[in-house]
């Protein structure tokens, strides 16, 4: 469970996040929606410790992030996957090496086991026969798939996705969104997605939160949010 309480954050003297309260239960898929620049990425990066709150706290599985020791962070990070907006794959490694990297770093599996596992996960994200290619030789959509495979290969319990569909055409956006949903269900991960792709968000989410001016103006199941009386929310989603 991820519990964010009264989170405030200023960047460059500007209040980016104001009094954020969210409780994300295990195995739920959350989509955080909002206009560009509203602070979705910053919020997501707080949950993996790349930003620290000015006020308020974040708890993951009952552990407050600001109280973690280096070792606890390492252990926690091994259970989390983060899908970066542009993939952030190593471009000096092949697709296979990229996907196998977390296994090599954090498990004691043999070369053969790693190979089997990496091939298995590449198959799961619908990529076969590109193991030996480099990220620069792939299309944007394929890179996202590889990055997704890398993010969940350690059987991640929590998956963060930053703008998984930005820069993709509508059909690919739909495919990637479905893939994230299927992967989340398959691994029973808790998934938090930052996005401004409203249609796909409402299709795959268990819960939706809408940010405006650094605040959560609506949250709940897709039906609850659709029924919201907030003017901004109504305008934003229709």
């Amino acid at each position: 469970m991820i519990k964010i309480s009264h989170l405030y954050k200023s960047l460059n003297r500007e209040l980016v996040l104001k009094d954020i309260d969210l409780t994300i239960n295990d195995s739920e898929i959350w989509v955080i929606l909002g206009q560009s620049g509203v602070g979705k990425s910053v919020l997501l990066q707080h949950m993996i410790g790349l930003f620290h709150p000015d006020q308020g706290a974040i708890e993951i599985n009952g552990l407050r992030l600001d109280h973690l020791t280096a070792q606890q962070w390492l252990d926690l990070r091994r259970t989390m996957g983060y899908l970066f907006q542009e993939g952030a794959l190593y471009d000096f490694m092949t697709v296979f090496e990229n996907v196998a990297f977390p296994l090599q770093e954090h498990t004691a599996l043999s070369v053969l086991e790693i190979k089997a596992k990496a091939e298995n996960i590449l198959q799961l994200v619908g990529l076969e026969g590109v193991e030996r290619k480099y990220p620069a030789q792939l299309s944007g959509g394929m890179r996202k798939r590889v990055a997704l495979a890398r993010a969940v290969i350690l059987d991640s319990k929590i998956l963060f996705c930053d703008e998984p569909t930005s820069g993709l055409d509508p059909i690919l956006s739909r495919d990637i969104s479905n893939l994230i949903r299927d992967i989340s269900r398959h691994f029973r991960t808790t998934t938090v997605i930052a996005s401004h792709d409203i249609a796909n968000a409402f299709r795959i989410a268990d819960k939706v939160a809408i940010l405006k001016d650094g605040q959560v103006v609506a949250q709940g199941t897709p039906q609850e949010v659709r029924a919201s009386q907030n003017d901004f929310v109504r305008e934003f989603i229709h």
Binding site: R77, Y82, F84, Y90, D91
Partner: protein
Amino acid sequence: MQKIDLFFFYRQTFLIIAQKLSGFGRALYFFADVCSLGLKGKIRLSELMKQIYEQGMQSVVVVALTSAATGIVLALQGYMMLERFGAKEKVASLVALSLVRELSPVFTSLIFSGKAGARVTAELGAMSVNNQITATKVMGVDPLEFLVLPRMLACVLVLPILVVFSQVIGIMGGYLVAVFQADIPGSFYIHQTLRSINYVDFLSGFIKTFFFAILIGWVCCYQGYYTKGGSIGVGHYTTRAVAFAYIFVVLSNTVLTKIILTFWG
């Protein structure tokens, strides 16, 4: 009015100095972090080998050409000048000592900054702006250990080898001039060369090289690691890293030369 302007001026100056100092502090911190990882033995051999190969291979041809040309020019000029004093057989010592003590370490370091150093900054810079460094952290791997240490260590290992290589090639260039132009017997030239270089000469060149290597590795890795601002930023930080490396090599060379000459004459 005057007073306010002056206050503003002091304040700005103070802020700029404070900013530079904090930048320097961060660079020191960075260096200390990387060194402590190295001392703890967290060295990834396969990454290190790859870096050594790439950095070495990239610079070796330019270093060879420059060194050969330098040796030839030194010998040509030296032979002309020394002949006026009837001391043309001293040309071997002139070439050897100039190369070993001064020219090879400095020229090779400058070339190395422009080739391997620029490569290191550009690589790390591109990784930084594409979030690969952040992704490394998020995957629970220390980017200093995985990405920076192998590059910095490779600089420190490769540059001295390149310098020795440059010394040998330069002396060979001088040899060609001596034999084919100055009619000095080859065996005499080699004998003279070996006799004129003692270990102090070699060591003083080597100490300098070692310092330069650390400076280049440090500056180039640091600039790359903290690159911001997309592809424009990569270009900006890379040229900056190379310019800093040049300045540091040239300036520290004067200081080191003075120190070494004071103690070793």
